[in-house]
């Protein structure tokens, strides 16, 4: 792989037929920091969180209020699911559309990386309408900022708080819990430690880095009161007169567990929402966090088994800069390990489909529905099976059936444009200096231009970055 092919594919998200090969690949990458658009038009056209939350709360209310066994209840429920799915699919289409013409493809890749690091999953019904907004509002504006700000934005977004049950967590000794216990002693209300655990295990420190079950529980207590406005019960429980702005982060003091907390030997005496903020601040700059993030970045950009020396350097840059992300990315760009010629990363289904769509020159997605296609390819967008997000190693994606699906999709893509693009020349544009003679020969011998293009899209070279 040539350096320009590496810049376009390993750091970027795949070239377009009319992209000139970058003459100074490192410069080309760094310059993208100034060109990145956090809110391009296709994203801006999606409904804002307030509208999503309002609509959602309203149909939920209709569902709840319709009398049991009334056909109207069934209809309302159906409508709720349909609306949620529509919001989700529109957002998936926007994600793909913005990638087709991205002004800063390297930063676009970073958006995908971070959205997967802070994974929310539309496997949970309440998350479905908000998954796209999570990426738009919590991830996109912060990928070139400080890790701490990204962390805070991600944990406070409605999608994350609903996904990891934070919106329902109640301090056992909070005002609300006491009042509720008096009114209705039978019902249980209390703590949910899901978000606290995943923040420590997945988002910051990493698993097996020295925190205990007691630390998780203490952190969960500190997080009580962090909630979502305007969604009522099930989203956030009613916390008094202040219901907040629909879908926005809302601190409900009545749910907060009073008292100081001790986490990993450090004491947090802050009152209210500032307590969890202080804990998140410490987690954001902890050495274990630096190493965790460094390892994941090195795995994403360099190799399934990240080179230890590179992890050390990335980790040091993270710590020295207090989590200033562009400083960390610059170390990555400067890393000789990242410019090694052999393509070591097998593309995920998402990476492969976007690079294929870019490769055949698509500028907009038109009538295409991206979400069902990614389901078929085995990586449903914003729907990883767990809060750990999708795996970032070849063993998870290079599988017999998965390859056949790519061939099926490649054939469909090629049928769209196969008569307009010359696959024999396109390979050198998309992956300068990369295509092996055997691949060139196979493409050249194909029975039709369409088959030739499909072969290019599933070639060993194109499957990797």
């Amino acid at each position: 792989m040539s350096e320009s092919a590496i810049a376009l594919n390993r750091f970027g998200i795949g070239a377009r037929p009319d992209d000139p090969a970058p003459t100074n690949p490192k410069r080309w990458l760094i310059d993208q920091f100034d060109r990145y658009e956090p809110r391009p038009a296709v994203w801006a056209a999606l409904p804002p969180i307030a509208q999503l939350a309002d609509d959602y709360a309203q149909v939920r209310m209709e569902v709840r209020q319709a009398p049991k066994d009334d056909p109207a209840k069934k209809d309302a429920r159906k409508e709720m699911r349909r609306d949620a799915r529509q919001n989700y699919q529109d957002a998936v289409n926007a994600r793909a559309a913005s990638a087709l013409t991205a002004a800063a493809p390297f930063v676009e890749r970073l958006v995908w990386f971070w959205a997967n690091h802070f994974a929310v999953s539309a496997d949970k019904a309440t998350v479905v309408p908000f998954a796209g907004n999570f990426e738009a509002e919590a991830i996109r504006p912060h990928v070139l900022g400080r890790f701490e700000d990204l962390l805070l934005a991600a944990e406070r977004h409605a999608a994350m708080m609903l996904y990891l049950d934070q919106a329902q967590s109640i301090g056992p000794d909070s005002i609300m819990a006491r009042r509720a216990a008096m009114n209705n002693p039978g019902r249980q209300r209390g703590l949910n430690e899901n978000l606290a655990r995943e923040i420590m295990e997945l988002h910051t420190l990493g698993v097996r880095t020295g925190y205990s079950q007691a630390d998780v529980t203490e952190f969960a207590r500190a997080l009580t009161g962090w909630s979502v406005g305007g969604l009522g019960r099930g989203g956030g429980r009613p916390g008094g007169p202040n219901q907040g702005d629909p879908g926005e982060y809302l601190f409900r003091p009545g749910l907060h567990e009073p008292g100081a907390r001790t986490i990993m030997g450090r004491s947090y005496t802050q009152v209210g929402e500032a307590q969890a903020e202080a804990i998140l601040h410490d987690l954001a700059v902890a050495p274990a966090t630096a190493r965790h993030i460094a390892t994941k970045l090195a795995r994403h950009f360099v190799a399934d088994d990240p080179p230890p020396a590179l992890v050390d350097r990335l980790s040091a840059a993270f710590l020295q800069s207090g989590g200033d992300l562009p400083k960390v990315y610059r170390v990555l760009i400067d890393a000789p390990e990242a410019w090694a010629a052999g393509a070591s990363k097998f593309k995920t289904p998402w990476e492969w489909s976007i690079s294929a769509m870019r490769g055949i020159g698509m500028r907009e997605i038109g009538q295409m529905q991206v979400a069902p296609m990614l389901n078929q390819l085995g990586q449903p967008v914003w729907r990883p099976g767990s809060p750990a997000g999708f795996d970032d190693v070849a063993a998870s994606w290079a599988a017999p059936d998965a390859l056949v699906r790519r061939v099926e999709v490649a054939q469909r893509f090629a049928q769209r444009v196969g008569d307009r693009l010359d696959a024999r020349k396109l390979g050198a544009t998309l992956m300068p200096g990369t295509i092996a003679p055997a691949t060139e020969q196979a493409i050249g011998r194909a029975e039709s231009p369409v088959t030739g293009l499909a072969l290019l899209l599933v070639s060993p070279e194109f499957q990797r970055r």
Binding site: N194, R208, D401, V404, A410, T451
Partner: protein
């Protein structure tokens, strides 16, 4: 489909392959038994699956989440089955389902991902081993290739490793032309990673036959039965199920999850016909959930859970449990069902007895880090 498979033998493997044992040699497997591993990802709640209704602490710990034993299928004087498991209840009645309770892998922390890695690799610590126990079991089989299959688009950790395995999941995409498939086979010939994957995919497609593109639990059960019933089909298989992580709103979600499992296994049984008598299905999860309900109508990450052995070859109709009790003093760390049985011992015993391979040898091969003493008397011999 046959055309595609034949084409593959000529072009992708090459003419030389015709001199090697053909794929139909699978029929020469030393056993006609089938072993299917169903993983429940997300820590399934064993206490509400196989309900210890006679334990006085159960109803108290679970509160509103406790299953009313009058609605559940009684298994014996101590345990009852979740009401969603209608068909599995019938299998129990027919002596074809066995439940092991208070069981756990060697893992004692609370991370799903680490725990699944331990369960699937058969190691004692996460990420120490690079291959899975189901793949090592596949390596112990006498037949040649395509002995094992995952009904999923990709290969799960338990099946990854040196032994050749394949994967299949129905697809709703329009099929690629035979010409393109053949050319892709040629294109991958020199690629050490893609070539074996592609060959395996083409062979599996040939076996899938007329199965439709549906992905619901009933179709999945039928699909698996279609593969496993074939005389030259795989003998080892794996199915992944997700969605068992119930931190909130557990009652409805667990009922739906168990219903899906029940439907899938019933369709597997029906689809297998007489082959069901040669089948053993292991259903297991990475760890259990807290003994007490949490504050949001769910349960959190725990330790001990329940596993199932299901199939016509199982010596079923019983619950195997050295019940530790749910009184506060008997809980692990004051919050979890204390494990008294080893999942590894269950796996080694069940796999060994299923295939008639000496279970201690299976235990050594599958669990080299800490060799368990296999459980015995699980499967008809």
């Amino acid at each position: 489909m046959m055309i595609r498979r034949q084409f593959l033998r000529f072009s992708a493997i090459g003419a030389g392959a015709l001199l090697v044992a053909p794929r139909l040699a699978l029929a020469a497997a030393q056993t006609d038994r089938r072993f299917l591993f169903v993983i429940q990802r997300g820590a399934a709640d064993g206490l509400n699956t196989v309900i210890p209704y006679a334990d006085p602490a159960y109803a108290q710990l679970r509160g509103a989440l406790a299953i009313d034993p009058t609605t559940a299928t009684k298994l014996d004087a101590q345990f009852a089955l979740h009401p969603s498991l209608v068909e599995i209840g019938k299998m129990h009645g027919a002596g074809q389902a066995l439940f092991v309770h208070a069981v756990a892998s060697p893992y004692r922390e609370r991370s799903h991902f680490d725990a699944q890695n331990v369960l699937e690799t058969g190691g004692t610590a996460p990420y120490r081993l690079r291959d899975g126990w189901l793949n090592r079991l596949t390596g112990m089989m006498t037949a040649q290739k395509e002995e094992a299959i995952a009904f999923a688009p990709t290969v799960p950790m338990a099946l990854r490793g040196p032994a050749d395995v394949t994967s299949y999941a129905p697809s709703a995409l329009p099929q690629a032309t035979d010409d393109l498939l053949a050319r892709v086979g040629d294109l991958y010939t020199e690629d050490a990673q893609l070539d074996p994957l592609w060959r395996s995919a083409m062979a599996t497609r040939g076996m899938a036959g007329e199965n439709g593109p549906k992905q619901d639990p009933a179709s999945l059960g039928k699909l698996a039965a279609g593969f496993l019933a074939k005389p030259d089909g795989p003998r080892i298989a794996m199915i992944e199920t997700g969605g068992w992580d119930t931190h909130s709103g557990q009652a409805g979600r667990l009922a739906a999850q168990l219903k899906a499992l029940d439907v899938m296994l019933a369709n597997l049984r029906d689809g297998l016909g007489p082959v069901w008598n040669d089948t053993v299905v292991l259903v297991a999860t990475e760890f259990g959930r807290t003994a007490a309900a949490n504050g949001t109508g769910g349960t959190d990450h725990g330790t001990g859970s329940a596993a199932m052995l299901i199939g016509g070859a199982v010596k079923g109709g019983r619950v195997v449990a050295d019940w530790p009790g749910l009184a506060q003093a008997n809980l692990l760390d004051g919050r979890d069902l204390k494990p008294t049985a080893q999942l590894d011992a269950l796996i080694a015993g069940a796999a060994g007895e299923t295939f008639g391979i000496d279970p201690p040898r299976v235990a050594r091969t599958l669990f080299a880090d800490a060799v368990p003493r296999p459980m015995t008397g699980l499967v008809r011999t």
